[in-house]
Structures are given as structure tokens and as C-alpha cells.
């Protein structure tokens, strides 16, 4: 028996980091007795360690709750928790597409913040009903009136009767539940139509294989059905369908309007791509749902084990990691400086950092990573085309006819007072001004073309600091454009270190060369001899720094009581040395390879 569609509400929560999204989700689950208070682990939905620690959501998850409204009817509320970062914009858009409504949380002590906006607009693009909620009203510094004013002013939706809650204490959260029922529309979608299920995420389980997290848009799906993924064409037999309580719970069927999972002995998440449409083989839908995109890696970096002997372990770890994250690509590569490792591709910088952190943490690996690179298109004199994601593979400059780099269209939303400084930043990043629109009095939308190569380094950090966190930013890759690019190399004590090479625009080469050389000078520990650090373009030295020679390396004191302790100190020093990379005669710490990235 299908649950009456008119009693279903599918919604997500949009919030800035720290505005209380996970806490609110916890309260909703508690109030609906979805999870008993005793089982309640703080922030249940963010189950990955990294998600909890960073306070961000990386994967989408969902939970089904039941709520009896004042009208006496029992409603099914499906909450889909979405990621909130530009790297995952596509995933967010699919999760939003699975909902009819979005709860917009605004912190009563902070007012509306920039990053929230991008997701609000994404929700509006997907025709979602937005229900604003003012959170943290229990705090003494709360100013709900201001928050209401900002919502109305900046987003332009009425907020006078927005529920004012404290997710922390549970105050007025009941009222919010009631509003979810009254404000959000029930799903439409015909149960009798051929199956169309939207995949908004996937998850790899050791026993079940890859699960598709879906919103059934039309039709019904049951165990035993033969299904087809409309974009990939893959066919499987459904072994189980179920819902999120929030843990998986098998059900007889999933029908139009419902949110749940489909298990079909799928080997990897790569076969159940976010955005794809699932239909039935026997009674297929004529058209897939709109909005499918292949999410391809945009940012590449070399990942190497800090200890060369760990190479096999790293390979195993990567294999396991991509079981659950199909957007990561990897292939073996070698570096003179770093030995054997992998060239890995990611959706963006945050995605890259998170993957690295998971590898180190979940698989207990020590990694060395090189500076990220985008994919360049290089046409050589013989007319052939090369896609280069590793600066070391760049053909000799004399062989290059032209080089092209990916160009993005970047949308930046900001209060007007930061427009000047943001335009400056965009110009510094080789941005080309396209458009400026006043969305309302307090919000300006700037559109620029900016090379991805400039965005992947520190654009977002810079944008945030220049706008005190108020500007939000979103980008899409438009096309490849010809550009005057050069390979910037670094020499340590005369030896080239391939892992430090980067491709930069010629106009940026000097300042970048200088900045990186300075940074290297800071992070390379002093050794027994002086170490010249040189930045070079095609053999021409453009910057030089020196690490002065170490004068002493000796324990001043060592008496009877110190011996055990001093031995431990030496062991630590030895461990540290093991993690160093030998470039010619120079020992280089792992963080040196990231210094190419972290410069101001």
C-alpha cells in the first residue's frame, strides 16, 4: 500500500556553516520519535568523522520521519541533508531537485550569510518553496527582527511569520514541524506512470554494494524489478528497496513522492551516478529526468605515500575510496622527487582536501601531495593535441604551438560595499569583467570570466577575507581559451624538483616564483650546508632565496636522568628525517610541496 502522496513532504535544510543545520535536524528527529533521545548521537546525519569535525556535510543523506499534525493526520516527512560547498554544487542541485521545499535557517545572532545565498538561489531555480526559520533565539545576542529584515531584503521572501526557534533547546521546533506540513506542497508525480527515480546520491556498503539514494518522481519500484539507468544504460535486478530511519530499513516498495534507497547488487558507485534516472526495463519511461551532468574532475594533484613502501597500501586505499566517491579519478604516476604515486582528479579544492584527509585518517597513511593543477590543452607543432594535468608532462616549449586553459564563468554575490575590492581581486586573478547587476539594494551580482587555474589556488579564501565572509561564489567551466602559459620550475641546491613545478600565466610567473621561493625558504629546515632555492622559467632564473646552513645540532645537556628522554628525542628526529624527501642533496619536508599552493 502506497502512503498517500498528499501526506508526504520532501524537504531539505539550507544553512550557513555553524548556523545549526545538523542540530536542527537532530531535534526534528527527536521530536518525531524517529530516533529516541537515548540513541541520539549528536548530529546524527553527519556520520563521517570529517563531516562532524569540520561541521560540513559532504555526502547527502536522508531520513524519514512521521509527524501527526494538528489536523489529526499523520504525515511522512523526508528530510534530505545536502552538502553545502561550491565543489559539490551539482550534487546539491540534484538533492534539491528531489525536494519540494527548503527550510532556510538564519542565525539570529549573525543574520544572513553569503554562502547560504548560492544554495537559496539553487533552491529557487529548482522551484522549491522556501520556509525561513530564525535559529538561536535563546542566545542573548539574538536579533530576530534584523534576521527577518535581512531575509526579506536580500532574498525577497516574506519572513514576518518565520518560526523563531532554538535548535539547541528545542524551543518552537514543534511549530516548525507544523509549518513544514502547511507550507510545503505535497509531491505530485503519478504512481501509475512508468518509473522515474532521481538519484541524488549513492553510498557504498560492504554487504549490499552500491546503493542508489533516490526520490521516486513517478511510478513504483519493488524488489525483483529489473531496472535500467537511463543515462548509463546499465541494467540490474532490484534486491531491496527501503527507507532511511535514518538507518536503512527495507520496505515492500517505493512509490511516487517517496524518498529511499534501491539496492541492486551494484558493484561501485560509479555505476549509479548522481543525476541519472532509474526506470523499469519492462515499462520504461520515454524520457529521463532533466538535469543530468557527468561530474568530471577539474583539479588534479599528485598523491604519494610519505614512505615509499606504502605505495601498495595507498593503491588499495584509493580503490576503496572511489567505491564510495565516483567523482575521484586516479592513475599511477612517478616523480623523480617523490617516487611512485598517483595522479588524482577531484571536483574542486575542498573535495581534494577531504579525500586526502580521509586517506590519511581512514586508511592510516602518511601522504605527500603536490600542488593542484587544472587540465591544459596543448597543441604541438605537429598539430597533435595533448591534455596535460601534470606540469611535468608539458612538452618542451619549443614544440608547443599553443596552450589553452579552462575558463570559468564565475558568479559572485556581494553587498555593494565590497564590490571594489572584489573587482580588484578578480583582476588580479586575470578575470575579465562580464556583468554587474544590482539584485536589490544590498546585493550585487558580479559576473567574471576567470581561469580555473586562478580559482583553484586561493581565490575563495581571498574572496571571503576581502568581503568578511559576505560574498558568495559559484562557477561553471565554460570553455578552453588560448593563454600565454609557462612552466615554473624550482631548483634546490641546483637540482630541479619536478614535484614543485607548476604551470602559470607568464605575467604571474615572476611574483609567483618569488613568493614560492620565499615560502620554501621558510619551510625547508636548515641543513649542514647552505641551500640556494631558485625559481626558473625554461632555464632562466627569476628568483632566488637561500636557506642558511645549520650551525649546531646537538643536545646541550645529557646526564643520568636524561638518557631515556634524549633517546626518544633522537628517535623522533629520525622519524622526521624518514618523512623527508631527498631532492639531490637537499632534504625536503612534505609540507614544502603544498607551499606552492599556500601563498598570499
Amino acid at each position: 500500500m502506497a502512503f498517500p502522496r498528499e501526506l508526504i513532504r520532501n524537504f531539505c535544510i539550507i544553512a550557513h556553516i555553524d548556523h545549526g543545520k545538523s542540530t536542527l535536524a537532530d531535534r526534528l528527529m527527536e521530536l518525531t520519535d524517529t530516533v529516541s533521545a537515548r540513541d541520539m548521537e549528536e548530529q546524527l546525519l553527519d556520520s563521517m568523522d570529517i563531516e562532524r569535525e569540520r561541521g560540513i556535510t559532504i555526502k547527502s543523506t536522508a531520513v524519514r520521519m512521521f509527524y501527526t499534525h494538528t489536523d489529526g493526520k499523520r504525515y511522512m516527512l523526508n528530510l534530505i541533508d545536502t552538502p553545502g560547498h561550491v565543489d559539490f554544487t551539482y550534487e546539491v542541485s540534484r538533492a534539491l531537485a528531489a525536494c519540494e521545499g527548503a527550510v532556510l535557517i538564519v542565525d539570529a545572532t549573525q543574520g544572513i550569510e553569503a554562502q547560504t545565498l548560492a544554495n537559496v538561489y539553487l533552491a529557487l531555480d529548482n522551484d522549491l518553496e522556501i520556509l525561513p526559520v530564525i535559529n538561536k533565539i535563546d542566545l542573548p545576542s539574538a536579533d530576530p527582527q534584523n534576521a527577518i529584515h535581512e531575509i526579506e531584503d536580500i532574498i525577497g521572501i516574506p519572513a514576518e511569520d518565520a518560526p523563531q526557534v532554538s535548535a539547541k533547546t528545542g524551543l518552537n521546533v514543534e511549530q516548525l514541524l507544523s509549518r513544514i506540513v502547511t507550507d510545503f506542497p505535497a509531491p505530485t508525480g503519478e504512481i501509475k506512470a512508468p518509473l522515474r527515480a532521481l538519484i541524488f546520491d549513492s553510498y557504498y556498503d560492504n554487504y549490499k554494494g552500491a546503493l542508489s539514494y533516490v526520490r521516486i518522481v513517478e511510478g513504483v519500484v519493488r524488489a525483483g524489478d529489473k531496472i535500467r539507468f537511463m543515462h548509463s544504460g546499465n541494467e540490474f535486478e532490484v534486491t531491496e528497496v527501503g527507507v532511511f530511519t535514518p538507518r536503512w530499513k527495507p520496505t515492500d516498495e517505493l512509490s511516487a513522492g517517496e524518498v529511499g534507497y534501491i539496492s541492486a547488487s551494484i558493484k561501485s558507485v560509479a555505476e549509479t551516478k548522481v543525476g541519472d534516472t532509474i526506470t523499469l526495463v519492462d515499462n520504461p519511461a520515454p524520457e529521463p529526468l532533466q538535469g543530468y551532468k557527468h561530474a568530471s574532475p577539474m583539479v588534479f594533484c599528485g598523491i604519494y605515500p610519505a614512505d615509499g613502501a606504502e605505495y601498495e597500501n595507498l593503491r588499495d586505499a584509493l580503490e576503496k575510496l572511489i567505491l564510495n566517491d565516483a567523482s575521484i579519478s586516479y592513475e599511477p604516476e612517478t616523480s623523480q622527487a617523490l617516487g611512485y604515486g598517483f595522479r588524482c582528479g577531484f571536483l574542486g579544492l575542498l573535495h581534494m582536501e577531504i579525500a586526502q584527509e580521509r586517506l590519511e585518517r581512514e586508511f592510516d597513511l602518511n601522504l605527500v601531495t603536490t600542488a593542484p593543477s587544472v587540465v591544459y590543452r596543448v597543441v604541438t607543432m605537429d598539430g597533435s593535441e595533448h591534455w596535460i594535468d601534470n606540469p611535468s608532462n608539458l612538452p618542451d616549449p619549443s614544440q608547443i604551438e599553443r596552450m589553452e586553459e579552462p575558463m570559468c564563468k564565475a558568479h559572485i554575490m556581494t553587498p555593494p560595499e565590497y564590490v571594489g575590492t572584489i573587482m580588484e581581486l578578480c583582476q588580479e586573478k586575470r578575470g575579465i569583467f562580464r556583468d554587474m547587476v544590482y539584485l536589490e539594494e544590498t546585493r550585487v551580482k558580479l559576473t567574471y570570466n576567470i581561469p580555473l587555474n586562478e580559482i583553484i589556488f586561493d581565490f575563495f579564501d581571498n574572496l571571503k577575507s576581502r568581503s568578511r565572509g559576505y560574498a558568495s561564489f559559484d562557477y561553471e567551466i565554460e570553455d578552453y581559451v588560448q593563454s600565454d602559459l609557462v612552466k615554473l620550475d624550482f631548483l634546490l641546491n641546483g637540482d630541479m624538483c619536478d614535484a614543485l613545478s607548476t604551470i602559470v600565466h607568464r605575467d604571474k610567473a615572476y611574483s609567483k616564483g618569488r613568493a614560492v621561493a620565499e615560502k620554501l625558504q621558510e619551510v625547508i629546515p636548515r641543513q649542514q650546508f647552505e641551500i640556494p632555492i631558485q625559481a626558473a622559467i625554461g632555464g632562466k632564473i627569476i628568483a632566488r632565496e637561500t636557506v642558511r646552513a645549520l650551525r649546531k645540532d646537538v643536545l646541550a645537556k645529557c646526564y643520568g636522568g636524561d638518557i631515556t628522554r634524549k633517546k626518544k628525542l633522537l628517535e623522533k628526529q629520525k622519524e622526521g628525517k624518514k618523512r623527508m624527501r631527498q631532492i639531490g642533496s637537499v632534504e625536503l619536508p612534505s609540507e614544502a610541496f603544498m607551499s606552492v599552493l599556500r601563498i598570499n
Binding site: L555, A556, Y559, G560, G561, I563, T564, K567, L570, K574
Partner: protein
């Protein structure tokens, strides 16, 4: 031969750089001395057959301890342990706690070596590191020690201190040398976590001389001591010929020693096993255990033969004379040059080591990079 170390953990005030177990404030000195005495008795049967040729009462500030307690402790040492007739017998003292009377009693107890913590002869620097004495107090104490008949005096100095210049450090050396002390220990400051100085530096309240300046200071200071006739016999220790500290040389020979008192460390062979142990670091646990007739030991560690060999190298290469190949063979049955062949030849190539038929030792440059050399031996 073995050494005895007695730890007196009390100080009037803790110096800002100090991470030793030292306790400022009011403590029951008699209870502590009683615990020490009971600990000494507990060890009597355990170290029977061993002959001790050095005693070192260190701290803390041993000179703070009331004189009758010092007498009682020393009497107990002599009655329980087999000590040679005239051992090298050192007590540590800070200038402000030394009086002529006290010094006389020390002499009468057979204490024949005095180690005075001067650290710096510059009153500004002394204030900056939280010492409670000044230069004048040091000179008075030194003169009093000479008058009481001490003819073997060590002066502790430090460099790399906050507000210290090279010339200030050199002046401190001159002060010690001109008083013709027999021995100088000169340490570069080690900034240890959990010290006042560490947090002051981290919080930017205090700046230390940079690495190069400190190295500069050290090099010129060591040269100056050499000019005054003090020979460097260990990385941070200098003496007039014949006045090397035997007690400390025993540590650097990786010899046996018995440590008594709060958090004191010991090392001895027991039926062919090399054992290190450390006493309780908490004053109350130490006193309770000892008073109840239990050895106040907190940790014990058995060192395997490879580790014992490495330790012997680690401490032995601190001495400018290096390690005697013959004694190494006697102890381990193998020539270090053979056992550590690759490490030694690498170190020789780097210019860090010198080897003869009799010894392996660090070159002058090697003494500056001892850690680098030791890593090769690990």
C-alpha cells in the same frame, strides 16, 4: 665503580627555564630527608658488592636543605653503601643560599667539590630568567667557598638567554675564569615546553637570541675558555687539567649509578641485564612509598644489548676523548668500528668523526652535529 646521585628537589623560586622536578614554596624538608634515609636503607642489600667512588647531591637547590638534614643523609649513605675512602663528593648550590658556616659543615662532611649555579654574570639577564641572586652574591659565595677550603669548584653558565649578548656571555666567562674556578659547565638554553620561559616566548613576551647568534656566542665563548686554560672534555663541560667531573664522566661512560630521591634515575647491571629505573615524580607518592618501606620506583626499563650499545655511543661521543675501543670490546665483546662500520665510515666522510686504534671520537665539527652523527648509528 659506580656513582650515587641524591636529588634535593626544593627551590626558593623556580627559574623560568627550568623543567626539572623542582618545587618552590613551603615543604616538609624533614619528611623528605626521612624518606631519603629510608630509601637508602632499602637499597643497601640490593647494591651490595658495588663500590661507589662518586657522590653528587644535586637539585633543585641542595644548599636550601637545613644542614642537620644534609648530615643525616650523608651519614646514612656512608653507613649503608661501600664508598671509597675519598670519593669525589659534589654538592650543588645557588649563590644566595651559601654561607661560610654551611660551607664549613659541608667540608667536614667530606664534600670536596662545589657546583655553583651562576648562569650569567649579568644582573639584567639573571632577572630575565627569574634567578634570585645577583653577580655580587655569586662573588661572595665563591670567596666564602674558597675560604672554607673548597679547591674544586664548578660554575654553571648558560648562553642563548633572553637579553643576553655575546659580550655579556663572554663577560660571564671572564668572571668565572678570573676567579680561577676549576670547572665550568656552559649550556645553551634549551627551551622546554611547560616552562614559564616557553610560554613567554610563545606569547611574544620574551625574545631569545636567534639560532645564529646563539651559535656565535657558543663558539666565541668556548674559544675564550680555551684561552683561559679550560679544556673542553665534553660537549658543554670544561675544566682545568685533572679537574674533570668524575661523577658526570661516569654517565658519559654509560656506567652504573644509583639515583636517590624524588624522580631520581638509576642504571645498573643486574645478572647481566642493563636496567634503568626512575623514581616517583610526585613528592607525596615518593614519600609515602619510601616511608612504607617500598622502593619509590615509578618506571623500570630493561635495555637490550643493542640499545645498551647505542646508549654507550650516544653518551660516549659527548666526550672529546671519545669512546675507548678497548673498553667497548670489554663490555660488549665487539669492536665498535666493526659493529657500526657503515655509520662510522659515513661520519668520517662527513668530517664528523675521527678513529684511531684506541678510540672513536667526534671531530670539532662533529661535536656541533652530534645528533646527525647519532642518527647514523640508530
Amino acid at each position: 665503580m659506580a656513582g650515587i646521585y641524591v636529588h634535593i628537589p626544593f627551590c626558593k623560586r623556580k627559574c623560568k627555564y627550568c623543567d626539572f622536578v623542582s618545587l618552590a614554596g613551603v615543604h616538609d624538608y624533614s619528611a623528605y630527608a626521612a624518606a631519603l634515609i629510608s630509601e637508602i636503607r632499602l637499597y643497601k642489600p640490593l647494591v651490595e658488592g658495588r663500590i661507589f667512588d662518586t657522590i653528587f647531591i644535586g637539585g633543585g637547590t641542595p644548599s636550601l636543605l637545613p644542614i642537620e638534614l644534609v648530615c643525616a643523609i650523608v651519614d646514612e649513605l656512608r653507613s649503608c653503601f661501600d664508598i671509597v675512602k675519598s670519593p669525589e663528593f659534589t654538592i650543588e648550590a645557588n649563590p644566595e643560599s651559601l654561607t661560610f658556616e654551611k660551607l664549613n659543615v659541608y667540608r667536614n662532611l667530606g664534600i670536596n667539590r662545589l657546583s655553583i649555579g651562576l648562569q650569567s654574570g649579568d644582573d639584567d639577564v639573571l632577572r630575565a630568567i627569574g634567578r634570585i641572586h645577583d653577580k655580587a652574591a655569586f662573588i661572595n659565595a665563591f670567596d666564602a667557598a674558597r675560604a672554607a677550603g673548597f679547591n674544586n669548584i664548578n660554575v654553571d653558565l648558560m648562553h642563548g638567554l633572553p637579553g643576553q649578548s655575546t659580550s655579556s656571555y663572554l663577560d660571564s666567562i671572564r668572571l668565572a675564569c678570573k676567579l680561577e674556578c676549576e670547572h665550568i659547565s656552559s649550556y645553551s638554553l634549551i627551551l622546554e615546553e611547560h616552562t614559564q620561559l616557553y610560554s613567554d616566548v610563545i606569547n611574544g613576551k620574551i625574545t631569545l637570541p636567534d639560532e645564529d647568534t646563539a651559535a656565535e656566542m657558543e663558539d666565541s665563548g668556548f674559544m675564550l675558555m680555551n684561552e683561559f686554560g679550560y679544556m673542553r672534555y665534553e660537549i658543554s663541560n670544561f675544566s682545568k687539567p685533572g679537574y674533570e667531573c668524575k661523577h658526570n664522566l661516569n654517565y658519559w661512560d654509560n656506567g652504573e649509578y644509583l639515583g636517590l630521591g624524588l624522580n631520581a634515575h638509576s642504571a645498573m647491571h643486574f645478572s647481566n641485564r642493563w636496567v634503568r629505573w626512575a623514581n616517583e615524580a610526585s613528592l607525596s607518592s615518593y614519600i609515602i612509598k619510601a616511608a612504607n618501606g617500598k622502593l619509590p620506583v615509578e618506571t623500570t626499563e630493561e635495555i637490550d644489548r643493542d640499545e645498551e650499545m647505542f646508549e654507550t655511543i650516544m653518551v660516549g661521543l659527548r666526550k672529546t676523548a671519545g669512546i675507548s675501543r678497548r673498553s667497548f670490546v670489554e663490555r660488549f665483546g665487539i669492536d665498535p668500528v666493526e659493529h657500526y662500520a657503515s655509520a662510522i665510515s659515513e661520519a668520517i666522510l662527513d668530517g664528523f668523526m675521527e678513529v684511531s686504534d684506541d678510540y672513536i671520537r667526534l671531530s670539532n665539527r662533529g661535536l656541533d652535529f652530534q645528533n646527525e652523527v647519532l642518527l647514523k648509528f640508530m
